[in-house]
Symmetry: C2
Subunit: 356 residues, 2 copies
């Protein structure tokens, strides 16, 4: 365990490094760890217009892919790493932070190695595949005096923030119940269907959005969780992970939530919040763009607020949130602890299903 004094010492040392990272005009340098769709088509492009962050490094097992991307982003060959020599990023002053966009079960290893290399971490959701891994990730970043953020875009996104505001302000009245769902029909062959890499099925990948939304909408932690799961399609896709999960949650105030997730059908991401004074409906709720909030509240004009934002603005925002937290020394709103809580609740869902 770190003592408070030791931790403060680390924090001061970290602050010194931070001030270097935040020299006027210098953008925070991010290395992409894993060059899949989300990093190459969303996060990396999102930094092209950022005044606060830029892509300065690449980590990949496919050198050709990395070279191609390096050319696009003007990244020198010395800033391209493999998973083998990844730890050498410690010596690269152009890399301040990493974006972990690997299969779920690899999040822990690369977050911890990044922290040990003195880098801040933005890690994709789900944070990890076990509670122990999530805890180890938090501990490693703390010990290194580095920030850890989990890529919960929605918690920073204006439509979702507006939904939270309608609830927090009391306009919706006392919240009673929430419905939410999120899923899609997955293709065979994805790593998401590999139990070892994914750690679970649609719950880990898609259901986590509903779970996290129920938590950020209520600003409460579930006190009770019950769930059912199934595999319907016997086409080989679901040998290692579940296909469907339905679960209910009860929060300390009494708010109940019923949620669904699937890898077997198109299931548009949405949530509905029922308060004593009205209802709000967000759909799409979790997408990269095109979000839309509608609400009917007593004594208020009808609300219909489609987001005008385009992808990949949400990715710019989450990366810049980490930059801001590094500069200010504040903990990210979308912290490792936030990811850990979802890990624990997902484990409870699996337990209720008899899957753990």
């Amino acid at each position: 365990m770190l003592t408070r004094r030791h931790f403060n010492g680390l924090a001061v040392a970290a602050a010194a490094r931070i001030s270097r990272a935040q020299e006027p005009g210098r953008k925070l340098g991010f290395a992409m760890v894993g060059l899949g769709r989300i990093s190459m088509q969303h996060l990396a492009p999102s930094l092209k217009t950022s005044s606060k962050a830029q892509v300065t490094g690449l980590v990949s097992g496919h050198r050709d892919k990395a070279d191609k991307m390096a050319a696009e982003y003007g990244i020198p060959a010395k800033n391209i790493y493999s998973y083998e020599n990844f730890d050498a990023i410690a010596d690269n002053k152009e890399i301040d932070a990493v974006y972990i966009a690997l299969p779920n079960s690899m999040h822990a290893e690369y977050t911890i190695r990044a922290a040990k290399a003195g880098k801040h971490v933005l890690c994709e959701k789900p944070m990890a595949t076990t509670v122990a891994d999530a805890e180890a990730m938090i501990a490693a970043c703390k010990q290194a005096g580095r920030k850890l953020a989990i890529a919960y875009r929605c918690q920073l996104e204006p439509c979702n923030l507006r939904a939270m505001e309608l609830i927090r302000s009391g306009k919706l009245g006392k919240v009673q119940a929430i419905e939410s769902a999120n899923g899609f029909n997955i293709r065979a062959g994805e790593w998401r269907l590999n139990g070892k890499l994914a750690g679970g099925g649609p719950l880990m990948d898609m259901g986590v959005y509903s779970l996290n939304a129920c938590r950020f909408l209520t600003a409460e932690e579930p006190a009770e969780i019950k769930a059912d799961w199934s595999v319907i399609d016997q086409d080989g896709r679901f040998a290692e992970v579940e296909e469907n999960v339905a679960w209910s949650m009860k929060f300390p105030s009494g708010i109940v939530a019923s949620c669904n997730t699937t890898y077997g059908a198109n299931m548009p991401g949405f949530y509905r919040v029922h308060g004593t004074r009205g209802m709000l409906h967000m759909e799409p709720a979790f997408g990269y763009e095109g979000l839309r909030l509608t609400a009917r509240i007593q004594g208020e004009p009808p609300i219909d607020e489609p987001s005008q934002e385009k992808d990949p603005v949400q990715f710019t925002r989450e990366a810049e949130h980490l930059v801001d937290c590094i500069a200010s020394g504040k903990d990210p709103r979308i912290s490792g602890e936030e990811g850990l809580r979802d890990m624990k609740y997902m484990l409870e869902i699996y337990r209720s299903c008899g899957r753990r």
Copy 2:
């Protein structure tokens, strides 16, 4: 227990009576049992234009209310009954059937007394407040050779039938998951908040629609049920019944469902069915009019089918369904057994909540 021979004998005797009830040009005579909103503003008016059924009797504890309605429907004073002399309907040949629209816990007594008086029964949902009562109602009607139908309007309603057809035809592909909710913000003082009369809260009254819909949409019976309940509002309304219930169900094929019901907030009745080839959404799903089915299915043009029907057509339909079943000797689609199944599942939901 009835033997088959004895039962057949009863059926023949019943058929003889039925043929009297179905003389050419003669409409089946219904007595309204309980003159509340649903009987006086929906079912009775719905028979004004029916060629198959008419209101011929009234049963009420409020003679003045009954007299007023009798005048409107041209019902003679001799066909007005109180709860005390109700059994005398046995001698009234103008009354062939009763419509039970009483508080839930009274459904059993008046269904059984009606059956013993030789009358067919259309009983509001929920069928009863206990499984034992529901079983006794079925047994009484069987023994008397009379039909028992539960007022599950939706199972006869075209939009809901169309949803079922999209599923049964295979157009939606294999169904994976369903979301459904139904509830409203109840006013203090309603009998629905009286535990003895209502037998339960929003689950019995509103959640039963979602439960029944999940069953008629899947054509399966839930194999597993898990639930959470709560009371949030400490304003005296929920001293005897629950305010909120969230529950999940798993069906034998693996289909999962997540449902919500409340008496604490506006919660529009809806369901969504996710199949491998598309999704259908019904909303409003359970109302007296204005229902709307939308669907997006691979290879099909978008479906957007709002119902053009006006209230109280759904009530005409359920009453005439009973008339048709009496004439044909067939069991109602919306049978007592169908109501009993929902009673058992609601009990399971309460058990999972720790409320029974």
